[in-house]
C-alpha cells in the first residue's frame, strides 16, 4: 500500500503541511518496501486549480491512501475518482501521523471544503 502526505519539507522529520494543494512537497511511503520518497508539488505556485493538479500528482504516483489535514472539493473529486481513501491528519510530524495510521488510529476525512478560489482562507 502506498501512502501520501502533504509536507512542509523534503526531509524525514518534516511536519504535515496545513494545505494539501499548496503543500511544497508530498511524502510517499510504501508500506511493503518501507521506502520513502519526496516529490516537489509543482501545483503549489499555480494561480488556480492547485488542488486539481496536486491530486493528479497523487494519482500518478499510484497512491492508495492520502493523509491530509484538509482537502478541497475539486481535489476530492479527482482523488475519489481514483479510489484513493482520505484520512485526516493531526498537526505534528509526518512520521507520527504515519505511525498512527499504521496503528489504525485514524478517522476518514469527511469535511471536504468548498475551496477558496481566490477568496483566501477560511
Amino acid at each position: 500500500m502506498k501512502i501520501a502526505v502533504p509536507v512542509d519539507e523534503n526531509t524525514q522529520n518534516t511536519n504535515v503541511c496545513v494545505s494539501f494543494g499548496r503543500a511544497p512537497y508530498f511524502l510517499f511511503f510504501d508500506t511493503k518496501t518501507k521506502q520513502t520518497y519526496f516529490v516537489h508539488n509543482s501545483a503549489a505556485s499555480s494561480t488556480g486549480g492547485a488542488g486539481i493538479q496536486a491530486a493528479q500528482i497523487i494519482v500518478d504516483n499510484g497512491v492508495d491512501v492520502l493523509l491530509t489535514p484538509r482537502c478541497g472539493e475539486q481535489a476530492a473529486d479527482v482523488l475519489i475518482a481514483a479510489d484513493i481513501a482520505l484520512y485526516k491528519t493531526f498537526s505534528g510530524s509526518a512520521q507520527d501521523n504515519l505511525d498512527a495510521f499504521a496503528a489504525d488510529k485514524f478517522s476518514e476525512l469527511d469535511d471536504i471544503h468548498a475551496g477558496f478560489h481566490g477568496h483566501g482562507g477560511k
Binding site: G49, I52, Q53, Q56, V59, V78, A81
Partner: protein
C-alpha cells in the same frame, strides 16, 4: 459619453448616484454591471423587457476518441483538467474558456459547448434604456456577462451611466474598461477613504479621467475629503447626509422625480460631471 460609477466598498451610494444621474440626463442608458446583485432596475421598473442568455465555452470530451495522451491536462494554464483511470475529468468552474485544450487535442476528442452562466435583461422606462446583467447563482465569474452587457448597451449619442460592482477587482476593471470617465463615490469615514484610495489606484492604472463625489457628507471630520485634498483628487460634489433621501432611495424611488430639492442637487452634480468630462476628454493641443 460613458460614465462609470464605482467605489471601493459597497453601500457608498453608487446606485443612488447612477440611477439619479441617468434619470436626469434622459435620453440615457443605464447599465447595471453589479451582476451578483443588480438592483438598479428596481428603481426604473423598466417595461418591454427583452432577455438574452449569456454563455461561455467549456470543453466536452468524446471518451471514444480520447486516447489518454494528457496533452490537455499538461497544458491547461488553469488546471481545469485531470486524467484518472482512463477518464478525463473537466472542471467547468476552473475553466477560463481559452479553448486551448480542444485546439491541442491530437485525437480531436475535445470540442467546445455552450454553458449558460447568466442573462441580460434590456428594457425601457421613459427615455432611459436599462440593461441589467444577472449572474446565475453558483457561477464562478460574471466577467463574460459584463462584456456582453457593455456591447449590448453601446450607444453613440445618449449618456451612458455604468453602475459598477463594488471593489477594485477584475470585475470592476471589465466594467470601466470602455468608460470615458470614472466617477468615484465615497463616504466620510476612514473605511471610505481607504477604499477610495484603492479605486483611485485602479483608475490611475487604467489612465482614466476621474472625479470624486462624497456621499453622506456631514460637517466636521471627513477622512475621504482629507484624502482627496492630500492627493489632489478633484471633488466634483457632495451629497449631504439626509435621512429623507435615504428613505426615498430605500423605498425604491428615484429621488429626482420626487422633489425639486433633490432634482437641483443631482442636476448640479450632473452639470459638474459633464463639465469635467468635456474638459478631461477634450484633445490636448
Amino acid at each position: 459619453m460613458k460614465i462609470a460609477v464605482l467605489s471601493g466598498k459597497g453601500g457608498t451610494g453608487k446606485t443612488l448616484l447612477a440611477v439619479n444621474l441617468a434619470a436626469l440626463a434622459q435620453p440615457a442608458v443605464y447599465v447595471d454591471c453589479d451582476v451578483e446583485e443588480p438592483n438598479g432596475h428596481l428603481y426604473f421598473r423598466p417595461k418591454h423587457i427583452v432577455q438574452k442568455p449569456v454563455c461561455i465555452k467549456i470543453p466536452q470530451v468524446n471518451p471514444t476518441l480520447c486516447n489518454g495522451c494528457r496533452k490537455c491536462v499538461e497544458h491547461c494554464a488553469f488546471n481545469a483538467l485531470a486524467y484518472v483511470k482512463d477518464n478525463l475529468l473537466i472542471f467547468d468552474d476552473i475553466c477560463h474558456s481559452c479553448g486551448l485544450c480542444s485546439l491541442l487535442c491530437p485525437q480531436k476528442a475535445l470540442s467546445e459547448i455552450d454553458k449558460e452562466i447568466g442573462i441580460i435583461q434590456s428594457g425601457r422606462a421613459d427615455d432611459v434604456c436599462i440593461h441589467t446583467g444577472i449572474l446565475h447563482i453558483g457561477q464562478a465569474t460574471g466577467i463574460p456577462i459584463i462584456q456582453n452587457l457593455l456591447l449590448e448597451a453601446s450607444s453613440a449619442d445618449a449618456l451612458t451611466v455604468i453602475d459598477c460592482p463594488p471593489g477594485s477587482a477584475c470585475i470592476v476593471m471589465e466594467s470601466i474598461k470602455d468608460a470615458d470617465f470614472c466617477l468615484l463615490v465615497t463616504e466620510p469615514t476612514l473605511f471610505g477613504a481607504h477604499n477610495l484610495s484603492m479605486v483611485h489606484d485602479l483608475v490611475t492604472l487604467f489612465n482614466k479621467p476621474f472625479g470624486v463625489i462624497i456621499n453622506k457628507s456631514i460637517p466636521g471630520a471627513n477622512p475621504a475629503e482629507t484624502f482627496c485634498k492630500e492627493n489632489n483628487l478633484p471633488v466634483l460634489g457632495k451629497i449631504p447626509y439626509d435621512k429623507h433621501l435615504s428613505i426615498l432611495h430605500s423605498n425604491g424611488e428615484i429621488a429626482v422625480k420626487h422633489s425639486e430639492t433633490y432634482r437641483a442637487l443631482f442636476s448640479s452634480l450632473l452639470d459638474a460631471v459633464i463639465k469635467e468630462v468635456r474638459h478631461e476628454t477634450a484633445p490636448h493641443s
